[in-house]
């Protein structure tokens, strides 16, 4: 296990920030840490990296205690922090080679260019970082996080400022890293990113982990009614008979909105609908999604 946080409690001065945070991240897994602003996500990351000393609970990162062995953790961990500043006078190549040397690696110019290309960054020769766009800086930050060949990646809002193509490219990089056994802790407000990338998520509200698991598990546990938009490729059956536990909420042309009862697995529902003669050709989830789960959990716990 790369990160094992149990009952983490942390206070800054007399202000308790984290009360009871749990987090488990395995090798090759992408874990999404989500929660409202001020919930304690960044503080959890700071505690995991030894930047803030925790007072309660246990935190083990890469087999070490960050309170006493932060340097050893940093050597094996790539981080894209929230405060992500650069040396504007340097070129991207010089910048990456500087960080590679700080990690004790000597990278050739060709290797550095390869690392830049890996994150979709191909600056002109001699172009200083000062004139990079926000998206380019974000990509450079990710390249910096990857430069030490980390076993663990901790990324705070990695797709901030990126266009849809850039986001997709970064997603591909993260998926490739996880396939190579790198654990990725992703802290983001973009639930779409979490939905697309994460094997498991943890939701933090007011310094407490209120849910942890896969999105499917959590949705099931939350007992959310699931709603879908369904497109029919032809007329519905003449009797318009619907299987039990499925109801049509609205119809608009060839599209219908249907509700599944809690606990009814969508794949089983499609099978039953097709079997009953409903010519389904396209399905989109409109609720029962991560967003619903997020609102459900954060509103409930914050109330």
């Amino acid at each position: 296990m790369l990160i094992d946080i149990r009952s983490l409690g942390l206070a800054i001065g007399n202000h308790p920030i984290l009360l009871d945070v749990h987090l488990k991240l395995n090798a090759g897994e992408i874990y999404g840490l989500v929660g409202p602003n001020g919930a304690g996500k960044s503080t959890t990351i700071a505690a995991a990296l030894g930047l803030l000393k925790h007072q309660n609970g246990t935190v083990v990162v890469l087999g070490r205690n960050p309170n006493t062995d932060a340097r050893a953790i940093h050597a094996r961990c790539g981080v894209l922090p929230e405060q992500n500043g650069f040396y504007d006078w340097m070129t991207a190549t010089d910048y990456l080679s500087f960080f590679a040397e700080l990690y004790g690696h000597s990278r050739s110019a060709r290797e550095i260019e390869g690392r830049l290309a890996q994150v979709g960054l191909e600056p002109r020769p001699g172009q200083p970082i000062g004139i990079f766009s926000r998206g380019m800086r974000q990509r450079l930050g990710l390249a910096r996080a990857l430069i030490g060949d980390p076993e663990l990646l901790i990324l705070d809002e990695p797709t901030n400022g990126l266009d849809p193509r850039g986001r997709r490219e970064i997603h591909d990089v993260l998926i490739a890293q996880s396939r190579h056994g790198v654990g990725v802790l992703l802290c983001t407000h973009l639930l779409d990113d979490v939905d697309r990338l994460c094997h498991r998520i943890g939701i933090i509200v007011r310094g407490r982990t209120v849910a942890e698991g896969s999105i499917a598990e959590l949705t099931r546990e939350a007992d959310l009614r699931t709603r879908f938009r369904v497109r029919l490729g032809g007329p519905p059956p003449s009797d318009r008979a619907l299987p039990k536990r499925i109801s049509i909420i609205a119809e608009q042309g060839e599209w219908s909105v249907i509700d599944l009862e809690p606990g009814f697995a969508p794949d089983a529902a499609w099978r039953e609908l097709l079997f009953a003669g409903w010519p389904i050709v396209e399905v989109h989830a409109v609720s029962g999604s991560l967003e619903d789960l997020y609102f459900n959990l954060t509103e409930e716990k914050a109330a």
Partner: protein, 192 residues
Amino acid sequence: MTPIAVLARKEAGEIILSPRGIVWLLAMAAALSVFALLLVGSTELSLLDNAQVVYDMAGIITALGALLAVAIGNDSVAGERERGSLMPLLLTPISRTGLVIGKIGGLVVSWIVMFAIAIPYFWAVGSTGQNLADGIVGVALLGTPVVLTFGLLAMGLATRPALRGRVSPHLSSCCSYLGARCSWGRASDNPQ
């Protein structure tokens, strides 16, 4: 190369290559030009003997070096923190002590560059006498600890934001006082 040396090289590069570092060095050169012109061109000050002029220039160079060290020491911690570039450094395997030593390396380089810039001015005001070499050696031996102490104080204060706002202006005033005491104070004590 060790991480500390890598960091010191980056700090040196920041002083020599970054626009901010170049502006500071140009400002120092401009200040030295003004003082050298005063020492050579002012009717009263040009009456000082050669030794007096050289030692006054030495005091000014030390004071300006200390001022530059305060600016660079402060910027290398507080400036980096404000620009967000300190955090990525703190997340590398380099120790906090290594980080400080690397940044001190930057201070040393800035002082060496400043010293190199100052030598032509030294020569301009003191080349007619026998005291030029003494002045240069004096600045190297006595100015270096003064400059590094001021730079380290500024770096130390920069790690304590609450103190920095209150103490930093006084530190800069100290540098100005140091320069004034070394030059004008002595000049008025001993008019020739």
